[in-house]
């Protein structure tokens, strides 16, 4: 039987229910300031790495929170930890620690620890 109506493409949608947000929970627990981000993009604007690549700390923040982990992984290690983002952030988010924790969290999630 033919299906009627519309279906939304799986790739476009954030599947909030099935996405694994273990990485986000891990970071929330270790660095509560992760919750404070308002996506202003100050970090990405000042970012040393962002002037060379598509690394965006702001994007990384929101995607991890939504459990869109695959999009984030490959970019994480491009961060130089220079700390300009921490100095710019209007919310006092401890941005560098989030990068370090995210790397650690992905390692742990590979080992099924989280």
């Amino acid at each position: 039987m033919d299906k009627f109506g519309y279906t939304i493409s799986k790739e476009r949608q954030i599947d909030y229910d099935s996405n694994n947000r273990g990485v986000a929970s891990y970071i929330f627990e270790k660095e509560p300031s992760f919750r404070l981000c308002i996506e202003c993009g100050g970090c990405s604007a000042t970012c040393t790495t962002a002037s060379f690549t598509d690394f965006s700390l702001r994007e990384l923040n929101i995607l991890i929170k939504r459990g869109e982990n695959d999009q984030v992984r490959q970019n994480l290690k491009k961060c130089m930890l220079c700390g300009k983002c921490t100095l710019v952030c209007p919310r006092g988010v401890n941005t560098r620690n989030i990068v370090v924790l995210a790397i650690k969290a992905f390692q742990k999630s590979d080992n099924y620890e989280i």
């Binding site: 970090c43 604007a45 000042t46 965006s56 100095l87 710019v88």
Partner: protein, 341 residues
């Protein structure tokens, strides 16, 4: 016997309070640290959202206080502030002693000192100015760069000194967004050839007719709005300002060369207010503004009986709200004095 009330601060709130009290037959002394009354109103050109001339509001306030028995003390600051047996004794910088039955604090706000956000280069780069500087340009009718030429591309940065943990101000100053939109419209009006960009974190157009002005700015004046916090500005060889911002809705960093950068300075507790708070033992909140006795039904009352607040010394407010708040303070004071204390 007639009661005597001292009003500290001769800005919008102080003038309104003084006028209303005087009309109610109460003796009023108005203390103003500057040489003339009016406060920040003297520095604004046109007011949001309807862009009426600020002089009209000044005229109203002058009318309120005109012909009233108000003792006006300009160039005056307070050095001592004591309360004993329900009366207040106040000593001014000129050694004058005032005795009052009640005191209204209307010390207003200070504009955030934009040089504190060094990354924006105020005081370092010639063509980085504040919203107050731009008002001054509007008043003189000369909107030019430091070298006298006319700016072509102009950027407006929202939230300078507001919503910023780095300068210790968590709160929203509430009026910078609408000021930015108003000034963007005016810039386009004065300089029809110019391009104006607003860089915002969130557009907070909460007041009456603010959103309409926002719409007008887009529709009629072609102002561009880019969502992202400007992280820093630098100067290029050709004397332009290079700003770094992320266009967060596009998800990409954005670089732009501007002729002029306007910083929307936020509102902070005034230095004068802080001094009074220290002298009088008045409570202040985490945002450093005066803390009202109750946020819902006692926003004019302080922690000290007989001391009342009026206007922006308690929180950022626009002129409409300030005048309403000042009138509410008058009601509180009259009520307080009636009880025969």
């Amino acid at each position: 016997m007639s009661k005597h009330v001292v009003v500290i601060g001769g800005g919008v709130a102080g003038l309104e309070v003084a006028g209303q009290l005087s009309r109610a037959g109460i003796e009023v002394s108005l203390i103003e640290k500057e040489s003339k009354t009016g406060g920040h109103l003297n520095n604004w050109h046109r007011l949001f959202p309807d862009r009426r001339n600020s002089i009209e509001v000044k005229e109203y306030l002058d009318g309120m206080t005109h012909n009233q028995r108000i003792i006006l003390l300009t160039n005056t600051t307070i050095e001592r502030f004591n309360r004993n047996k329900g009366h207040f004794s106040i000593t001014t910088n000129e050694g004058r002693e005032l005795t009052a039955d009640a005191v209204i604090v209307a010390t207003g706000f200070d504009l955030f000192k934009s040089a504190r956000k060094e990354e924006y280069g105020y005081g370092i780069y010639d063509n980085v100015i504040t919203s107050a500087d731009l008002e001054e340009m509007f008043r003189t009718g000369k909107i030019t760069l430091a070298n006298g030429s006319v700016p072509d591309t102009i950027g407006i940065v929202h939230c300078v000194g507001s919503r910023d943990e780095k300068v210790g101000n968590f709160y929203c100053s509430k009026l910078c967004c609408v000021t930015a939109v108003k000034q963007a419209v005016e810039l386009r009006e004065y300089l029809p050839e110019s391009k104006v960009f607003c860089f915002y974190m969130d557009m907070r157009m909460g007041g009456a007719f603010y959103e309409e002005l926002y719409r007008e700015a887009q529709e009629k004046w072609g102002v561009s709005f880019i969502r992202g916090k400007v992280s820093e500005a630098s100067e290029t060889i050709e004397n332009k300002l290079l700003i770094k911002v992320e266009d967060t809705l596009a998800g990409r960093p954005l670089k732009m060369k501007l002729d002029m950068l306007v910083l929307m300075a936020g509102m902070e507790m005034s230095e004068g207010g802080e001094k009074i708070a220290g002298l009088g033992g008045l409570n202040t909140g985490e945002n450093r503004f005066f803390a009202a006795a109750d946020n819902h039904f006692g926003s004019n009352k302080s922690n000290i009986e007989g001391v009342f607040f009026a206007g922006t010394c308690t929180a950022p407010m626009n002129i409409t709200e300030t005048i309403s708040h000042a009138r509410a303070a008058v009601v509180e004071v009259i009520d307080y004095l009636k009880d025969g204390k």
